[in-house]
Amino acid sequence: MLMSVKPFFTRLWKALASIHLSLILCLLLAADAVWGYACIHRQTALFIPLNDMGLIPWARTWGQSAPATSAWFFLLLILLALLALNTLACTLERLRQLWAVRTQFSLCRFLGKLGPHIMHLSVLLILLGYLASYTLAKTEHGVLLPGRSLDLPGNAGKLHFTAFAHEAYQGKRMPLFQGEVIRPKALLRLEAADGTVREAALGFNRPVRLGGWSVHLEEFAPKHSGGMGLKPRIDLKMRRDPGVQLYFAGILLFCLGLGLYLPERLVQEKHQETHKKPLQGETGRQK
């Protein structure tokens, strides 16, 4: 029994580590992405809650309610899981082979040869980070008016909205944007749970961090100096996301792998050039 199982697992492992599987998965992922584009374009609203309610609750409610539009997403998850397995198997297999011949290289060359495998593993780490983010992150929404405060969930700290410090368009080349806020900035006073206070500026793609939460600017009003009379406010999204560390670690690891790989690549190219030169000489002689 054990004898018959072992070859099966060997074949399975080889299939998982196969470059052909990688190509098939990449093609399927591309096709699925095209399908996904059409679905998102047709029904954007279905996917908006995925950003704040998490993967499992979304799949049980919004995802299930419109299978025609969400099926591509579930297929994407399956394909990504397979690609991750494929990458892991492929990388471990190559690492095993590399380890077996490690004595043939100097330490520097060996590290250089590890570079691509480190990059592959870092991609897995980034994917894992996203999975953690979509399954474990907690998200809360809040609205702040100038001069008012908002407590972070679990008494992790307090945010006080001091004032706007927007940058508005003052040029004359584009009359449409005259007076329009082009770089929103809200000044906040952050009070940590231990009582320490600091100032911070919040903007789009410029979150602030406090007590393990990241605070993001979602929306603000008014957007124009002569706007529609909307009251000044900022809409906030507060996230406690364990995935962030994982994908930052993945990015750092990727950079390390790239740093190791590039010198190795240069050495390889130099090596190829030195092998080509005599060949060119030979061709010349033949002429």
Partner: protein, 407 residues
Amino acid sequence: MSQKMHKTRRNPVLQAFFSLLCCLALTLGASGCKQENGKAENAAPVSGARPAFLQIGEFSVHRVSDTHTEVRDGAGRTLTLIPHNAPLPPGCDPKRVVRTPVKRVAAYGYFDVATLRVLGVLHEVLVGVTVPEKEWAGCATDIAQAMKEGRIAYLGDSTSIDYERVKQVEPDLVLTWDPSSLPLLDDLNIPAVITSTPQATCLNAKMRYVQFLAPFFGKESQADAYFARVDAALADIRARTVAAPKKPKVMWGDIYEKRVLVEPGNAWVGELVGLAQSNYQFKDVFGTSCIEIAVERFLYSGEDADIYFTYRGKKSGATSKAAIARTNPLIRNIAPLRSKEGRVYVPAACYLQSMDKLDEVLTEIAAILHPELYPQHQLRYFEQLPDEDPPKNEPPKTAATAGGVSR
């Protein structure tokens, strides 16, 4: 090379993987197509039972149990609906709990008031509005009367609400489009629902919005009946216009001091125009309702448009094509204003307050787009503008009084 190919063909595990994925993709795709073609939605009641989850654009209603419903409002906040005296579900924020059926409501928007009317609870629950009494008179006279008698309070203009007054009327729930009111309502311990969404409301969400508010009042069957009525009107529009001889080009928007605001293609009007075999000139514009676009884009779309719907009504000076061109010289050359064949429509005085008759509004828009298919239709919610203002001693003559939609 041939050896390699031979090797690939013989890999049974890889083949099994590929076959499995293809089967999965085909099954999912097929099930998706089936749902799409059959218009089957999870939202539709299955064998008489109410669905557990209903998506209404960016809103949702999730029936967790018979006594526990979770709704997601336009700002992405989750509110818990539980009956009066029922214990709070574990882990639920008390500030986001609404006891049902709701008995006292303050509403900011016309559409929310109209929805309360659809649900048949308007006179029982509405205690505050942000539109003064004179604005209701002539259209929703019952509300004007209730305000006169003090049963419905005026809470101040929506941009400057009198929160002392709100506190006095003690609403159990506030329906508001304005997120900036949330912190102040939180201070008063009054739960609020944000009824606007970051993206424009699509046609399906516009029709189903009543099903979002229904669980607050336990009026789900009224909401389902209303949706069925509007859906039937839409089916009729689709059937009537399918063989329309011409596809008119339509634009919907307005210009305010050089700033052009239009309804984007993802808004319900954009979808309706497309569904009624017409071309919406801003169908490529995506975003929020009343989205701002460049004047040049508006002028470009207006070059060959046939029909133009404005936001402003006659009260705001849109009394004729010539009057609009005079007020906004920038757009005077768009085809609907410039040519004799071009048609311009403004919302009638009661348009905004008539959204409880959405089926009639949708039909009227279809009748405007294809007057030849609706020869007997009398305009009620829109008015067609004449080329010039009538002389002051002559009564104004519109298409509605002229006995139908003019071409």
